[in-house]
């Protein structure tokens, strides 16, 4: 049978969903991470504990939240507290995965969602850290979801809103950030990327369907390391797409 059709959002959602195992905790932000968490719950991770910044813990994501604080973020949750209980839970080491986004990402996974250009006379004023800096500081493993082009994958971010590996090995620990925490994956429309253990620099792990290694390199604004074996990420399956379209996002708010 032929591969089913899908759009870029569906590809990002399915790729992110596959990264979350069952019976783990994930700090879920607005947008694609919500859909990915919901899809993961329905596919392979029924016991994925979705944690929402403003207080929802362990919600059943059968209706899709539009916002991190809204009612679906604590629908049939096991606990509904507040932002400090949640972030302190992460600071204490209870939250395994965290999702991040931004306008720029650098080779060490540092993210910018604050300003383009000079901070005090910005060319573009972006929303700011939000929960990003907290997630990037405290979660064990962070996953960035990005559109992939040279303007977004840059050698040096205009502003480091959220810490990745900062300037490389040991620099998170030197800054006082939790030992053993940091960037884990980047999911883009072109590739799945990780970080080379020694240098902590971004590394190409797999290409998205129909994308070549060259295309990934061409669209990356810095020298990208290559894993010994570059896999190709499987396209969204018919089952993934069915769940995504018929259950996760019935109303097609995102896809």
């Amino acid at each position: 049978m032929s591969e089913p059709e899908y759009n870029p959002s569906e590809l990002l959602i399915c790729s992110a969903a596959r990264l979350m195992p069952d019976s783990t905790t994930a700090f879920i932000g607005t947008g694609i991470p919500m859909l990915a968490a919901s899809l993961a719950q329905k596919m392979h991770a029924p016991n994925l504990v979705a944690i929402f910044e403003f207080g929802g813990t362990g919600a059943i994501l059968d209706a899709l939240p539009l916002a991190v604080g809204e009612r679906r973020s604590f629908h049939r949750a096991v606990a509904a507290s507040g932002i400090l209980d949640i972030v302190e839970t992460a600071q204490r080491g209870f939250v395994e995965y965290g999702f991040l986004g931004g306008a720029q990402i650098d080779p060490y996974g540092n993210l910018n969602s604050t300003t383009i250009g000079d901070h005090d006379q910005p060319k573009v004023r972006l929303p700011g850290s939000g929960g990003g800096n907290d997630v990037g500081s405290h979660c064990w493993r962070t996953i960035a979801i990005m559109r992939h082009d040279k303007r977004r994958f840059v050698e040096k971010a205009d502003f480091i809103t959220t810490p990745g590996y900062l300037t490389g090995p040991g620099s998170r620990e030197e800054a006082g950030l939790p030992r053993g925490s940091g960037p884990y994956r980047v999911v883009s429309n072109l590739a799945i990327l990780g970080y080379e253990p020694e240098s902590k620099r971004m590394q190409l792990l797999a290409t998205q369907p129909g994308v070549t290694v060259e295309q990934v390199l061409e669209n990356t604004g810095f020298e990208l390391l290559l894993a010994d074996e570059i896999a190709s990420n499987p396209a969204p399956s018919a089952e993934e797409l069915r769940l995504l379209r018929e259950e996760v996002d019935r109303d097609r708010l995102y896809i």
């Binding site: 607005t30 604080g69 507040g82 932002i83 929960g131 405290h138 502003f159 480091i160 809103t161």
Partner: protein, 325 residues
């Protein structure tokens, strides 16, 4: 014990713990009926140049009727705790904001805030001091505790810290670097709740965001409530009281006070109404027109609700599962 780093930004609000203690001491501790209209509450307790904070945020349990009244009265030169969506967007679009302790101002699924972009990129907002979401809530918590700072492990190593007013020290117990967040004492806090009595005892259903912290960090506290209930109802469930009456200066009865945002268990967010602002906010002219139509042309919250319409409000109520008791 060593000071390792200091953010380059100034404090937008001084850490005056002793003054805060004095003003808390002076608050009436007796049971006083504090009910009043949005107009009276805002006129009485909010002044130009004040430092104000709102909770939770623009599309969720937000004091929108109070926010619209601030715009209606045109109280300017405000300094804001910058975590929000629609509510801060309205204040920005109205040109009432002079400085921001900012963590997130945007439109969530609808992307960046053009009101924020216009006000900051033009320099009309004179200063943006950077923080994370939790950092801002921890700053409220420090004030709520009555201490000058809280130590945390957020913001370390980032430009967010560099452009903040936080400090990094070597911990005197562990020797590790630690971020110290200065207490943020608000001149005025605004919180919308599910129910309150006329004295200000307030309860919230579902998640509580940072209501407890913001309420306790506010010199003056304005509460709007979907419903005013008898004090007996409060006393029957005292563990539900997130805000005790003695913190509160004004109690405003505001059904659908979070519109166009949601109120869990009561009504759904009004998506078309939110999109109307998202559209209008793209350009300053259309934004001004929106403010004229939805705020200045309407005398008060009752008139605003009339414009929303009884039928629409019933639809929004019907969209959420009520709370089984």
């Amino acid at each position: 014990m060593k000071l390792i780093q200091e953010g380059i930004a100034p404090l937008l609000q001084p850490i005056d713990l002793e003054g805060f203690r004095e003003s808390n001491r002076a608050k009436p501790k007796g049971m006083v009926d504090k009910r009043m209209s949005e107009a009276e509450a805002v006129r009485t307790f909010i002044h130009p140049g004040d430092y104000i904070g709102t909770e939770l945020y623009g599309s969720v349990r937000c004091p929108m009727s109070l926010t619209r009244e601030i715009v209606r009265q045109g109280i300017g030169d405000l300094r804001l705790a910058g975590q929000g969506v629609l509510e801060l967007d309205l204040l920005l679009a109205a040109g009432l904001v002079k400085a921001l302790d900012i963590t997130y101002i945007g439109l969530e699924v609808y992307g960046v805030s053009n009101a924020l972009r216009r006000e900051v990129e033009s320099g009309r907002v004179e200063r943006c001091v950077e923080w994370s979401n939790a950092a801002l809530a921890w700053r409220f918590k420090a004030a709520a505790m009555g201490v000058p700072f809280l130590p945390v492990r957020s913001m370390l190593g980032s430009d967010t810290l560099k452009y903040s007013a936080a400090k990094v020290i070597e911990c005197p117990f562990t020797g590790e670097p630690l971020c110290l967040l200065p207490a943020l004492i608000l001149d005025v806090g605004l919180i919308h709740v599910h129910r309150a009595d006329k004295y200000g005892n307030a309860q919230i259903d579902g998640i509580s965001g940072f209501a407890a912290e913001l309420a306790r960090a506010s010199r003056r506290l304005l509460i709007s409530a979907e419903q005013i209930v008898p004090t007996e109802e409060i006393r029957a469930r005292p563990e539900k009281t997130i805000i005790p009456y003695y913190l509160v200066d004004a109690v405003v009865e505001a059904p659908f006070g979070s519109h166009p945002g949601e109120m869990c268990y009561l009504y759904e967010r009004d998506e078309p109404a939110i999109r109307a602002w998202v559209e209008a906010s793209q350009e300053s002219e259309s934004a001004r027109a929106y403010l004229q139509e939805y705020i200045h042309n309407l005398p008060d919250h009752a008139a605003y609700l009339e414009r929303v319409g009884e039928a629409r409000m019933q639809e929004l109520q019907a969209m959420v599962p009520g709370r089984e008791s």
